[in-house]
Symmetry: C2
Subunit: 350 residues, 2 copies
């Protein structure tokens, strides 16, 4: 009469309906966000957008071996990140995230524990923001894991757009950059090798977490989105260079960035020293740090830096100015010399 090890249930035994019942129970367990009149289980979710609020909607597709590798990302990490990247988009508008629709395709032989872990990771990322899963879709996949999350949010006022940068604005970024790319680098060369090269377990945990479980700046986005003087805002997902180029293109302006002022994460510097690599490059081009990039009235910059630190504990660093030729971003060093810098990640380009 020994205890049996827990039985590994395949999705084949559970079936799609069984899986949907599990997802529904898991969504119900996290407690409903305001405004959910009908959640999982009907043809559509039925939601109530509060009077006077705008609706925000964003979607992100994550594909195995493109956006993540199963060898380094646990199912719970995949769930976390799939929600976090969408939270970051809502944060960049200064909005309040609310309702998620989650589509998941996995191979037929996937065990139910992995799927449960995926939804648990997502619920962990969702809980601090009161986000509820209100719908979705499930499917077998003939290849690897595929996840699509659509996140809906609300906004009581005017969302902060990419297109609102003005000549003379200060350019600023929250937190620090480069830890995610450092984490990816460590995951790709292997954690054992990274440890052998002298990175502590704590440092490794910090940078791999930055890559696998990024924290969206939702609270910061709410504060900055309501603060007078903030003009354009977006999230830093493709890398500072690429994302600032988006702001400049949409606003019809140019920018000058002081590379020595870019807040490169201490962990990125340490990783670069231990493993080789260029921490500044990770900070400017690496992407996936999910910090917020904004432009603001230069007269408001000091007030915003102090106010954000006081309200949220998060740093805001002025790194440059909106100026020069439209669409052109000039990176300069402390001595004013120009540094050539290409953009960040773009799909389809080799």
């Amino acid at each position: 009469m020994n205890a049996e090890p827990p039985e590994r249930v395949g999705l084949g035994e559970l079936g799609e309906r069984g899986l949907i019942r599990r997802i529904r129970r898991s969504a119900a367990a996290t407690g409903a966000a305001p405004g959910v009149e009908v959640g999982i289980g009907d043809d559509t979710a039925v939601l109530a957008v509060p009077a006077g609020h705008k609706l925000l909607a964003t979607t992100d597709l994550l594909i195995e071996d493109v956006h993540f590798r199963r060898i380094s990302a646990a199912p719970s990490d995949i769930g976390w990140k799939a929600l976090a990247v969408n939270l970051s988009d809502i944060a960049a508008m200064g909005g309040i995230p609310r309702w998620a629709l989650v589509a998941l395709a996995v191979p037929a032989e996937t065990d139910v524990e992995s799927v449960d872990a995926f939804y648990a990771g997502m619920a962990e990322a969702a809980a601090p923001h009161g986000v509820t899963v209100v719908g979705g879709d499930t499917s077998v996949s003939p290849g690897g894991w595929t996840v699509n999350v659509t996140l809906l949010g609300i906004h009581p006022g005017e969302p902060r757009l990419r297109s609102h940068a003005r000549a003379g604005d200060a350019v600023a970024v929250t937190g620090s950059l480069g830890a995610s790319a450092a984490g990816l680098h460590a995951l790709e060369i292997g954690l054992d090798r990274a440890r052998d090269a002298g990175l502590t377990g704590a440092r490794l945990a910090e940078i791999t977490r930055a890559h696998l479980r990024p924290r969206a700046r939702v609270v910061e986005g709410r504060w900055l989105g309501q603060a007078p003087g903030v003009h354009a805002m977006m999230d830093c997902s493709d890398g500072l260079a690429t994302d600032l180029a988006h702001v400049c293109r949409e606003s019809g302006v140019g920018a000058r960035v002081r590379l020595d002022r870019v807040p490169v994460a201490a962990a990125a510097h340490e990783t670069a020293r231990a493993l080789g690599g260029d921490a500044r490059e990770w900070g400017v081009r690496g992407g996936e740090d999910y910090e917020l990039l904004l432009t603001c009235d230069p007269a408001a910059a000091d007030r915003l830096v102090a106010g954000l630190a006081e309200a949220t504990g998060t740093a805001l660093t002025v790194i440059g100015r909106i100026e020069g030729t439209a669409g052109e971003i000039v990176f300069v060093d402390a001595d004013g010399s120009t540094v050539p810098m290409r953009g960040g990640y773009e799909h389809f380009h080799g």
Copy 2:
């Protein structure tokens, strides 16, 4: 100086930004739906839900070799169907479809014409309903095509839910069933063989279109959703047997269906005669016809049948009654004898 054949541009040359520019132009060309304050190009779409309206949200994931085959479905068909299946979900609530978010992953070597055709097919399905693409995501795929569409709609009153069937209700279905499964059967055995077996080109076009380019019953859903006496409603996507089981489960009721009254499409009968196959089986278990299944006050049935025909030209057929043991669906023939009948399609089950 002969005319050169049009150059085939790969996505690798165009890049992700170039692709997004194309999608944005294509979305702009279809004209904006009401309520789009910010469409493609920012971190999120910004949308205005009209006062007094509820928000409806649904998402569907379509994966190559699970939901469609490239050998039979052209890129424009894939785009059409990806939107149509979501339109059908909004229709089943009696709602008004409005805004779509479209995520597309394709192999890096995909040519731009195919991607353009995908969005053109989607725009063709969207246009009659005034639906606009307001956001999305693009990615390379290491496998086949993957499409996720999230469709948002609005509803001025009370959406029709699956859970509202009551004992004694009549069960009814719009249009006819089985043509989609007949079309799939013809595509799988090959159109040449189907033609050799005596199916005319027109018939083949009808059934393959039913499978590849289903028409969602949006207008019918609006009419039925507002008509007094309609209780539960859902769309028939997984097959009548499976979908009626959903209604019964959600409503805590049972049902009795007269198989001889199920409106099996003439094209399905003809296909079954020519190619072999069971048209009634296709009608009851085939799925993907995207008709609407509803339950209503039996006293209202005649009025609903006549009213829907007059308002939309679409037939509504009473096929059974809500009665018996909760969760149990009994299928009977004209003579009252019970016919065993399994459910429709379910993912993960072999």
